[in-house]
């Protein structure tokens, strides 16, 4: 194959893409769709349930203050600290609950695997940026809130290429 033919074929390969759909996800307007409600763990079988490893969610009525999540995080990110629960909120036996610093968290989800009481799950919320370091520290009361995550875009494949539709 001659040099000229090769270059024309290369150009032709690129030109074909004018007719193809755009693959780019226009992020703030469109958001990706995830499977499920986030990563969860079933301690009775010892196997997790697939989902995005995003911000945690704490169920106050299940948490006993056993500190296993904090111990699991010790060698990883040391992001979980056990803090005193204010008196007006729901108490557990030790009246301590995890507080998570998302400036340190690496979203590995080993704390979720460690919880034997179905109290700590992960959610699809990934937009956690803040203007201050304090804003990244989530107290037990903040972790209790179930986040609303817009999910409207999924990869779709057609004859004219893949696109986020």
């Amino acid at each position: 194959m001659g040099t000229a033919t090769g270059i024309i074929r290369a150009l032709n390969s690129g030109i074909k893409h004018i007719a193809m759909k755009r693959f780019t996800l226009r992020y703030p307007e469109e958001k990706l769709k995830f499977v499920g409600d986030g990563y969860q763990f079933d301690p009775s079988t010892g196997v997790g349930i697939a989902g995005l490893k995003g911000r945690h969610m704490l169920f106050h009525d299940h948490c006993t203050g056993c500190q296993l999540c904090s111990i699991a995080c010790e060698g990883v990110a040391e992001a979980i600290a056990m803090v005193k629960v204010p008196e007006e909120q729901k108490q557990n036996k030790k009246s301590i609950m995890p507080q998570i610093d998302y400036g340190k968290c690496v979203f590995c989800g080993l704390c979720v695997d460690a919880c034997p009481f179905y109290a700590l799950y992960m959610t699809n919320d990934y937009e956690l940026s803040s203007f201050s370091k304090e804003g990244l520290i989530y107290t037990p009361a903040q972790l209790q809130v179930k986040p609303y995550v817009a999910q409207d875009s999924e990869i779709q494949i057609s004859d004219r290429g893949a696109t986020h539709g």
Partner: protein
């Protein structure tokens, strides 16, 4: 005129005609690494790669964490290939802890590992394209990589650092309907990467720039101890997935790609052929995988090993054979973890490949070695 060279390097003081040039460590064409080259006009006389700028002490850190909490940090050396870089550690830990892995988990691991290999190679190919001034070859792989990252996100819940493999299987089962989505996206991905042939690999400009540059002969490739795509580009048929099959690779039909030339072109084409082979392996694994069953063995919270033991396991990663040597002394933490990484082995060939080359060929020769600075320094 004298040069103050750092002590302990292989370069000697030279005469005025020859200039010493530091490429890196901030140069975009070298990654977090310095390549000291001595040039006579446009030709490289001698070269000394100087790695070590991103040493993180992963091996020392592993001595203070138990077998489970080691997982998130041991996958950091190559975040794009995080399943493969963790694979030998997990296999070794399983042997030390005496765990038998369920059949379905082995197939899930193989799929995750092959997807990760493609993700790594796509990233590598994007940078190879931009090194050669081919902007389209930067945009296409970076975009098509998203297809596989989306699959990994569905499977593991994270886009790059998955922390998915654990001693005893994988963290979670596949999401519902994953097989169909995976098959559809992998088929489309294969169709896309076949289009790279016309624009990149059969492109006369690329061939002119990479053919017969940095030739590594078969004898030298074996003598330096190179692995992976560098070794296979020099005509040695060696792939651990075939030679020492781990998990379920012995049940799958794996074909090894070998090229005889040993130049930059062959070294850049072998990873691309590997990706096509990976697509085949994923399709086979999806077909042969047991449709149901456990994916993880339940472990005690802080698993302990039996006593003073050591184990060496290695896998074929996106760059070559990646080994992990674990010594245990019966405690919850390993006594010593040593990673034997392919990037560092392939780097040994660089000074000899660059001798006599033009300086303009340096990026193409250097990056064709499938080198990842962070992994070499670990």
């Amino acid at each position: 005129m004298t040069f103050n060279l750092p002590s302990g390097l292989a370069l000697q003081k030279v005469d005025e005609r020859i200039m010493t040039l530091n490429v890196g460590p901030q140069h975009p064409g070298s990654g977090h690494m310095r390549i000291i080259v001595q040039i006579d006009g446009d030709y490289i006389v001698a070269c000394d790669p100087d790695p070590g700028y991103v040493h993180r002490g992963e091996e020392k850190m592993a001595e203070y964490r138990n077998y489970i909490t080691n997982i998130p940090h041991l996958e950091r050396p190559v975040i794009h290939d995080s399943c493969n870089v963790l694979y030998p550690y997990v296999l070794g830990a399983e042997e030390l802890l005496g765990i038998e892995v369920p059949e379905r988990a082995k197939y899930v691991r193989v799929i995750a590992s092959e997807l990760n290999r493609c993700i790594y190679i796509m990233y590598w190919l994007a940078i190879y394209g931009i090194f050669l001034g081919h902007s389209t070859m930067f945009m296409w792989p970076a975009g098509d990589r998203e297809l596989l990252i989306d699959l990994m996100e569905k499977m593991t819940g994270a886009r790059v650092t998955h922390a998915h493999f654990v001693p005893g299987g994988v963290r979670n089962d596949l999401p519902p309907n994953f097989e169909d989505v995976c098959l559809r996206q992998v088929n489309y991905f294969e169709k896309r990467i076949k289009e790279y042939a016309a624009i990149f690999y059969d492109n006369p400009i690329l061939i002119a720039r990479t053919r017969d540059t940095g030739v590594l002969s078969r004898q030298d490739a074996i003598r330096y101890g190179t692995t992976g795509s560098v070794l296979r580009a020099s005509g040695v048929d060696y792939d651990l997935r075939v030679k020492e099959p781990y998990d379920v690779y012995d049940e799958l039909d794996v074909h090894t790609n070998v090229m005889k030339e040993g130049d930059s072109y062959a070294r850049s084409k072998i990873p691309w052929l590997d990706m096509l082979e990976s697509c085949n392996i994923i399709r086979q694994a999806l077909q042969k995988m047991p449709k149901s069953g456990s994916v993880r063995v339940k472990l005690k919270p802080n698993p302990k090993t039996k006593g003073l033991e050591s184990v060496y396991k290695r896998v074929e990663s996106g760059r070559g054979s990646l080994g992990c040597y674990i010594v245990s002394d019966g405690k919850v933490e390993p006594y010593r973890v040593k990673l034997s990484v392919p990037s560092f082995r392939n780097l040994i060939a660089l000074p000899n490949l660059l001798k006599g080359e033009k300086l303009g060929n340096m990026p193409s020769v250097y990056w064709s070695l499938n080198y990842w600075p962070v992994e070499a320094d670990r």
